[in-house]
Symmetry: C2
Subunit: 428 residues, 2 copies
């Protein structure tokens, strides 16, 4: 579809999106059947195309950036939108990294004999057609295309309007790479329209699109969750906690609490609330709070925290629910492990929570009882990430329990079917 359609040609958004979805469904069989060798050839070809098309990608991006400047978009958004030589190279390298990942498709596990004589196992298979709706970062176009391709899925990508030309330039590289490897060019399509209505039409194509992954701000994710007729792999809030237990090692507590908040402020796995027992707080807070202040972090604490350090601002109930994504931290002193777990249960978002302790039984209880997509002992919440977990890359982070949880890599874009090998067995 997409290679012959230009923005100006898209008169009927509904018909265009439906045709794109049908083309994706049609391509999905060939994508599912593609050999590991063909998929890797396509990935290598896409990387080469991206490197070869660097000048035209940057030119398209410059046009997008000029429009964005004129429209007065803020500097954070402009930064996300901007491509450079290094960022194009990083996209190409990312695609090659996906080529190096093991192919999940066709892997058979647990092929065991049953008393009837049949052998029963499970074979990993693609989900089919993956729809990805994202905002300003054009690198998502290459990353998502690579992950969907390697996992044997067809993909429909819908990027933000501000990155339209950049995304189309990257899409041409993806299509060329697919075709060079003998795979259908429609295996990955980037919607050529940025009409907002296209998203609504896409979310209604549950006969052609098997799963939707929204990547962007809360508004986008909530809209997609509300409207999508197919399953959604989504990430809502990241209200992450670090709990400093009585039996925390002071140096680990200091290092982890500092890193979890200050290594990056805008990421979903950044700590937003620090919990500590009174004893841990007395030992660690003076040094830790000084470091937070050096880093420019505003502290909002409970009454017990303010009794230790009167410069801390009084936290309100809203602070316990807040995902600041900014240099602001809520701090609360709790009685013990049970109170910490209760706080996380009440205010947390089931994303990533960590305990710092040297106590074996409390570490085990925290791991078992905290119901979050990542639960950690003596490590920074910032590790909750597909690359750090060894997934190689991630299509997103899921805060749902169903299907995929936490960082979603290639495996989250697959399913397993049952296979039965017999020798003529019948059921009696």
């Amino acid at each position: 579809m997409q290679q012959s359609v230009h923005e100006s040609d898209v008169d009927d958004v509904t018909a265009y999106v439906i045709a794109t979805a049908r083309a994706a469904r049609a391509a999905s069989s060939a994508m599912a059947r593609a050999t590991t060798a063909a998929k890797n050839r396509a990935l290598v070809a896409i990387a080469a195309e991206l490197r070869g098309a660097r000048a035209s990608i940057l030119a398209a991006n410059a046009d997008d950036l000029a429009d964005a400047h004129r429209a007065g978009l803020d500097s954070a958004l402009l930064d996300r939108l901007e491509l450079t030589d290094a960022r194009v190279e990083s996209m190409a390298a990312g695609v090659l990294e996906v080529a190096d990942l093991p192919d999940p498709i066709g892997a058979v596990s647990d092929l065991d004999y049953r008393p009837s004589g049949i052998q029963v196992g499970r074979m990993r298979v693609p989900l089919g057609v993956v729809g990805i709706i994202y905002e300003s970062r054009p690198n998502v176009t290459a990353d998502a295309a690579a992950l969907c391709l390697k996992s044997g899925n067809a993909a429909i990508l819908r990027g933000g309007s501000e990155a339209r030309r950049s995304n189309q330039a990257i899409a041409r590289c993806v299509t060329a790479g697919l075709e060079q490897a003998g795979l259908p060019g429609d295996g990955v399509q980037v919607l050529a329209t940025t009409d907002r209505a296209a998203v609504g039409v896409m979310l209604a194509q549950d006969d052609c699109i098997d799963v939707i992954v929204p990547r962007g701000g809360k508004g986008l994710i909530e809209r997609v969750s509300r409207e999508a007729r197919m399953p959604v792999i989504k990430h809502l809030d990241g209200v992450c906690h670090v709990f400093l237990d009585d039996h925390a090692d002071d140096d680990k507590a200091y290092a982890i609490a500092l890193n979890a908040k200050t290594q990056r402020y805008g990421t979903c796995n950044t700590m937003e609330t620090l919990l500590a027992t009174a004893d841990a707080a007395r030992r660690v807070f003076p040094r830790l709070f000084a470091a937070y202040r050096d880093a420019g972090v505003e502290l909002r604490g409970c009454a017990r925290t303010r009794a230790l350090d009167e410069a801390v601002i009084a936290a309100t109930e809203d602070d316990w629910y807040a995902e600041y994504l900014a240099p602001v931290l809520a701090v609360r002193i709790v009685d013990d492990l049970d109170a910490a777990i209760a706080h996380i249960r009440q205010y947390g978002s089931q994303h990533t929570d960590a305990i710092v302790t040297e106590d074996y039984s409390r570490a085990r209880r925290f791991l078992a009882e905290v119901d979050s997509s990542s639960v950690m002992v003596n490590a920074s919440t910032r590790f909750a990430d597909g690359f750090e977990y060894g997934l190689g890359a991630e299509i997103g982070i899921s805060t749902d329990k169903f299907h995929a949880r936490g960082p979603v890599g290639l495996e989250g874009l697959t399913s397993q079917k049952w296979i039965v090998l017999g020798d003529g067995q019948v059921r009696t």
Copy 2:
């Protein structure tokens, strides 16, 4: 909730269902934390309660049956509703079998070190609260309660109105067993109202119910899929195929095609369409069709099938889509493996499909390319079943790809969270 509420007390269905859902959510933490020993003690106690309460369960069932007779329900439904000494014993034995299954909860897999020094793995956890909506079989009450309990979930069960008294009698046994094991009685609740509006209210409680499993006819499943705000583990049509390849062993072809259709007619894994190459048809159909006719199976075939056997009725396009659940079989002669796979892709329901062949490469292609929840070589489709697959029991069969596919046992009622074990690591 349910032990103190009787039908006559349920004035406000909405408030009652919401209170039940909240009680389930509140109980779910204790259910998730329950030790294997406690869960097994509860299952053993429930089985003992069922055996001990046999007389009162049968009395309640007799009242339900009397009403059903008066209401003129059909004999198939009456059969599903009826409990006997043997059926109550079979329920108790089923609950004990679940006690013997390994506990999936807390199992940690793939705990590997990463270059950063953290150790990353996955821990199996319950989904939380499982809602099950079912029709006339009262044994589902005990089966579903046992599976949800063993998988660490709280459950809300909503049975059919015709089995109301039977279900409540069984529910009392479940509650008693939970409490004897020190688990919350609200861990498994059976709705005391059979008001149809209760289903709608239940399907809206996505903050308290994590997944819904509808078990029943197509009308129920479609309604639940349409209205549920939470994920649904569902099974739609079972349009299952057997394909007799040129290289089929004639005796295996005969035995499998006969068993797949005639061993039981009303089950979702029964073959509904038989495909064969012309050569396989010529060799196997005469003997096979004679056996079908002996069994009373009506044959509806394509023109080429009717050219071989003129007594076969002409199939229409609708027959290829039909899930007869009856002694009727559609038969089509296809050119080759590709045509068989294309037919299954077009008309099948992605449930269970089998090839009969001695050809290694065709068997491999069929396994890889047929996109159904169970794909079989040289075995009857009737094997697609939780017990036959070694799951021990099944909560249902899923024809979706997302989360769980095919027979869903304990594992399908769980999810995996990431766990990270560190020694003070921070991200750089």
